[in-house]
Amino acid sequence: MSIVTVQLGQCGNQIGFEVFDALLRDSHSFQGLCSKRENEAYQTSCKERFFSEEESGVPIARAVLVDMEPKVINQTLSKAAQSGRWKYGQHACFCQKQGSGNNWAYGYSVHGPRHEESIMNLIQKEVEKCDSFSGFFIIMSMAGGTGSGLGAFVTQNLQDQYPNSLKMNQIIWPYGTGEVIVQNYNSVLTLSHLYRSSDALLVHENDAVHKICAKLMNIKQISFSDINQVLAHQLGSVFQPTYSAESSFHYRRNPLGDLMEHLVPHPEFKMLSVRNIPHMSEDSLAYSTFTWAGLLKHLRQMLISNAKMEEGIDWQVRPPLSGLPPLGKMSLSKDLHFNTSIANLVILRGKDVQSADVEGFKDPALYTSWLEPVHAFNVWKTQRAFSKYEKSAVLVSNSQFLVKPLDMIVKKAWNMFASKAYIHQYTKCGIEEEDFLDSFTLLEQVIASYCNL
């Protein structure tokens, strides 16, 4: 089944390009660790999900590009075409002349309704091209104006027009120390609206990815291109095909549906984050070997101690001993020690994957009390290795990972809201203080729910 990607704003489009590029590059990089037949099944599955075919044989990404000003889309289209391996559809983009000015209200209340028909038409065309349609993957940032505001509007529209299809939003959490001054307002408004209309929110934090580039990849002068490539790598390792029901050659057909089913058991808890292991620069890769036991041990500790990457893990953190009462309400003021999960999904790719032991993830102490580990934990496998890694594992987790960042954003936005700074920019486009308060309330509730796990 196919996934239609909607790329919104500068961030969405820049990342979208890297994602498709990573997917196709991996699809063509055959490591020889599995059989040829296996590899072909993998490639076919990948193609079906993300690309459609043209007469010339060049795969066309199943994507719709939306931005309110033309520079980024032009760049994205030409980069894709230059790669020679794939490209975007000729008429798959929607562009205007003037951007949203980092104004969520402008993206949501002005650009949204004005361009609703054109954008939805484009999306519909893309959906019609799919033989069987799985759902939408919407890539956007929270800090700006188009990705955040127009993104929220489009997601809402998708919910109305395609009530039976799934929507997963990939959202980029901005750097803590400001890329955009009103980023906290934009983030609060985006999150609250998406919480109502999206099925799952897959979050990536710029700060975390930046650290991965600095510490693990050893890049000296980190550019957005580097950051986006790390992100694309993580997403690729989630979305590339995996076996269904433990049998080789048969790959899962409905990736989005399966993800939602396993990871979002309750609509109150929608925020997912991704951790992958290993991740390193190509030079280091040549000198490293891995065992499944080692990888999984690290990954489990990353989950428990809320580490963002495989370096600097706090090994002191332990799950509470079973038999003792649960740890009680998590307090945000103290350092978060133990990360309780609602649901986890581990995806393993590579050599000897059948021998990997994931028992450590089935420990009931890791999970909240209202879900049995047998429902809360799932593992997907494939022998086909991903990218250049002989063995790799990725964890998609619905847990308390994002509580602290969310709390931080709400706190800063609230402080700014109390002084009424910048509010006139939003009210002149139709977003009133009421709307802000609604958003704050919803997010406080989400924070409280997650804290109470």
């Binding site: 033309p70 980092n102 550019s223 957005f224 609230w414 009424k420």
Partner: protein, 543 residues
Amino acid sequence: MTQSVVVQVGQCGNQIGCCFWDLALREHAAVNQKGIYDEAISSFFRNVDTRVVGDGGSISKGKICSLKARAVLIDMEEGVVNEILQGPLRDVFDMNQLITDISGSGNNWAVGHKVFGSLYQDQLLEKLRKSAEHCDCLQCFFIIHSMGGGTGSGLGTFLLKMLEDEFPEVYRFVTSIYPSCEDDVITSPYNSILAMKELNEHADCVLPIDNQSLFDIISKIDLMVNSGKLGTTVKPKSLVTSSSGALKKCHKKPFDAMNNIVANLLLNLTSSARFEGSLNMDLNEISMNLVPFPQLHYLVSSLTPLYTLADVNIPPRRLDQMFSDAFSKDHQLLQADPKHSLYLACALMVRGNVQISDLRRNIERLKPSLQFVSWNQEGWKTSLCSIPPVGHSHSLLALANNTCVKPTFMELKERFMRLYKKKAHLHHYLQVEGMEESCFTEAVSSLSALIQEYNQLDATKNVPVQDLPRLSIAVSLTLPCQCSGVISAHCNLHCLGSSDSSASASQLLFSLVTLLDIPIPHVLEQAVHFVACTRHFFFQVFQ
């Protein structure tokens, strides 16, 4: 892509404008090697087929035929504009874009604003409309003028109101040259204060600049160039004051170097909107991020580096030096010291080979030495444009919304009061039809109110930041499979701790009831009390 129109008013405005167009052509010539009329050029220039007479000559794509500036030139004396039209830039301007008169405004705001305003109102409107029609998507008017004279100050600000009425969706960015202390025009305080009122009310963003600062920067550069320190040679093209490679090769005028700085400011301001980059920043984002309250729209600017040394390798230390310099007093284009005042917001617009990690590293490094207002502790807006300015490998423009503009305004007010108390030269103004003493008193009180706002912000400077109490919500969820969670929202009655400082003691009571979509057993309805002492706090109740 959007277009901008430059409106240059008065002698100062036109001289700066002239330098601007010169440098703009130079920049585009350096970037656009193939001579194709692309969207970047179209933001400031039209492409016209000069063989076609009249209006039909615009060409939107393809090779560059003849570039015409999107500009309107206004002056009530002919000298400056005539010189432009006889100089090397004459082909860049359309004869239809000019409005001139002979007599001049006599350094009298009232003459510029009231007399010439009403006289040329229709013509102005027509020329502005024409220039707007030539634009596919007009985003911004850039007005360049001085505050101390008559035409730039009076007629320039008359225009603002007109633009606001006629083109309400288009931004108005004003570059204003403020009079220095040793200004030789006696009535400049009057002109400036009268103009300030208009700027307060009708401009979206003002970039105040003064001649003294520009002059100091020139002196600094000259020192560097002539000092001949061992191992340092300055690349001539890289001087922010230079116009080498530009069209005008005529004898250097005294203000040329200073005007070039302002021209560079405008080019760098618009660079991220015109050229590509990994983190774009459009002009509407400037207003959105840097203007927290409509009245506080004065942005202090600084440009670095002022020159490039001829060493080819730029180690990171030098890159970091560029960031440090942007915050130093010497590099500001106004007599102001932002480092020791309170920041409301700050924008860093970087051009050239600089990546996000360099930017972040420097923000982390400089943050501790800067003071930000309590509700905007991380008030940074950043942008990265890939194309560097001519002669540099990278550059930085910093825009600060900072209370350091206050001394400039206070000093202006003082000079005004010194004259006004003695009613000196007042009759020149009052004899103009439409001018009364109330114009003066209103203008002063408008300025006083603005100064008061900055004072209030400064008062919060060293107060430790307190986190405000948040909405507290009790959540009880029954088993997830029964999706109907019962949620009750408590309302929150809080008093902020009584503050010790007598000046701004304000207790705040707020209670809030919000209802969610899920049915709630009991609805709490309460009246809301709000006490607003400062402008900062005020809440409402919602059903």
